[in-house]
Each structure stands twice: as C-alpha cells, then as structure tokens.
Amino acid sequence: MNRAIRHIALLTLKDLRIEARGRQTIGLVVVLAILIVVVLALGLGPGSGSSGLSATAILWVAYLFGGVLIFEKTMAVERYDDALAGLLLAPIDRGSIFAAKLIANLVLMFTLALVVTPVGIMFFQFDLSVAPGGFALVMAISMIGYAAIGTLFAALTSSTRLAGGLLAMLVFPVTLPVVLVSTRVLANLFEHNVSIGGSGLAILIAFDVMFLTASWLVFEIVLEA
C-alpha cells in the first residue's frame, strides 16, 4: 500500500514538475478559458450571468474546454520519445499510473478554476459570497468525475491522429449529467437558498465512484493496447 502511494506521489510530482518547468499547459489553458468567458460575456451582454444557473453554466463551458486540453497535454508527455514504454516497463502498477495522471490533471484543473472563476465572477457580477464553500464543494466533486473520464479517454486517444478533437467528442456527452446536475444544484443554492445535500449531490458522488472505478479497471487494457 505504502509502495503504491509512493509510486503515485512520484509520478504525480514528475508530471507537475514537467509542467512547472515548461508551463506550457496551464498558461495555454488559462488563456483559452478566459477567452471563452470573455466571448460568452460579450455575446450574452451585461448582467446575463448574474444568476446562479447562467454563471455556473458559463464557467462549466470554460472548465470543459480547458479540461480537455489539460488531459490531452498530460498524456501527450508520455508519448514523446516513447516515455510511456519506459513507464510500462517500470515495476509500477497500472492503477498507480492512472491515479497519478488523475491527480496531476485535477491539480491543473483546480488551478484553472482558481484563475478563471474570479474572472467569470467579475465579468458577470455573480455574487459568490452567498455560499462560496458550497460552490467549491460542488465544483470539486464534479471535476473529479470529469477528470476520471478525461484521463481514461486521453490515454485512449493520445496515439490517434485527431487526439484533441476526438477526446472532446468522447468526453463531452458522457459528462453532460455532471454539468446538468452541478448547474441545477448551484442554481438552487444561489437563487433559492436550498442546501446542496440531497439527490443532486448523490448523483455527482455516484458519477465519481462509478467512473473512478471503471477507469481504474479499464486503464490497464487501454495503456497496453
């Protein structure tokens, strides 16, 4: 168990160190996400995102596209110079590789959210002070499920010609329940002051558990194909 945790920590730090040295992914993703928010803000007009439903939906668009780029880039690192072959030959469980990739993706996703969310809040005059903890919790739980699916499909599509486009095609429809539920839960929280507990949060947790388990199980087959 300790060995697995050590492997996961080492691999996660390896991915984050590569990102910290190059800063290619996070810079690109943050700018893209801000561009998406600006385009939507200009397109929809002033005051359009001040409700809980619109603001979270707009932020989700930025997270979804930013996320796809993150998943693609963190997996592409392993394809350069056949680094993946070396990783597979190392005495490391495939589940640990999945967990490390997932954690690295989540760290980058949370970093993206930390930068883009204040920008969105500012542009749309959305009042987050009503329930900042609830917002962070719902978004964090939603992102875990999204990152699990994204990590799995990024491993599958990274060696194909249309890696990025294909990844978006695969991930977006599967993630629709997460977007739908999290926007509804947050709309209820911000507009009607309804607690985030209940069926909405249960669906988000069920999504996380189901797809974390499925991705963990399938990842070995995916990597070795």
């Binding site: 499909f153 194909t160 294909l166 429809p173 069920a206 995916v222 194909a225």
Partner: protein, 234 residues
Amino acid sequence: MDSATSKLIFRLYWLLTFGLLVAVTAMMAFWTPREETMGDVQKIFYIHLPTAISTFVVCFVVFVASVMYLLQRRSWWDDVALAAAKVAVLLASIVLLTGMIWGRSAWGHWWTWSPRLTFSLILWLLYVVYLMIRPSIESSQRRALICAVYGVIAFMDVPLVYLSVKLLPDIHPSSIQLSPDMRTTLLAWFVPMTMLVVGLTFTSFKINRLHRAISEPMEEEVEEPRLVPAGGSA
C-alpha cells in the same frame, strides 16, 4: 445450413416483419379508438413506447458486446457492437422525432427541456458520437478498443443521465390511461418492433463482417500482445 436456405429464411423473416408492421399500422389507424383529449396524435404513443424500450435493449447489446471485446479482443464483438449502435441511433432518432411531434401537439412547441425529451436527446448524442468517432481512427484495433471502452462508459452513463434529467421541471405525462383496445394495440406493436430491431441488427452485423473481410482480408484474430504487470502474471 446452406446459403440458399439461409437466404430463404432471411427473406421470409423480413416478409413476415413487414407484413406484421402493415397489420399493426392498420390496427392502430382503423381499429384502435381515438383518444378524446389528444386526438389522432395520441396514436404516436403506440410507436413511441416500443421504440423507446427497444432503444434501451440495443444499447445494452452495445454494452455487452463492448465488454466481450475488451475480454476477448475478437473483431466479431466489435462488429456486433457497431451493428447495435447503428440501430440504437436509428431508434433513438425515431423516439426523439415522435416525442417532438407529440410535444408540438400537446404543448405547442417542437422542443421543451422536459426530462424525458432531454434524456432521449442525450442518449441519442451518446450513441451518435459512438458512430462518428469510428472513421477518424485509422487503426482498426485501436478503433475497436476506443469504441469498446466508450460503449461501456456510455451505457454506464445512461442511469445517471436518467437521474440527472429528473432535476429538470417536468410537463411530460407520467402515465397514460389506456382502454383495453388501446392496450392490445400497444402490445401488438412490440412484436414487429422486436422483429425489426433483431432483423436490422443482424443485417447490419452481416454488412459489418463483409466490410471487414473486404477492408482487412489478411487480418487474423490474434490477441494483442500484453506486457506483464509488475509483480504478477498478465
């Protein structure tokens, strides 16, 4: 069974299916009583419900075939999954269209974000993507693997989609009162619909096999090489 006999059985099967389809359509049009509130548009329900249930069945076939592909790596299972996915998209399209026609008559709009219409749309999207991604993956083995993983994940997503759309406000009828004659017509529709779905899936599967035989004539059913995981056997 020789080729001539199987062709004859195939033709008889389709003849019977279309004969039954004509019969239940006539039954629906001329024998089944007209519903008072909705009028003739209500008769869409006899097509809509069996099609919706058949959609779930073929989605389940995609799931089973995808799991079997992941376990056995035989192209046969990929062809089954592809055939079922094509039929799933066709059926989901019919469910969407009949639902929209019903909605136009009942609520005056072609589209409302009611939970069931939204569910049908997401289901349709999930399986349209399955078909759309296939041509963009060059390697047939990679294509089969990606589609098998997607087929499993998409089916696992279906109950979550169903639960999540329930959070949307609902104006869709939760149950419909049917007279005994109406119920008979509804049950009768399930027979040709099931036969149609089985026939379409089988035909599509045969076409997929022929297509594979032409495009990959030298391919052999060999399990892909697997690396030995750390500290254990493959």
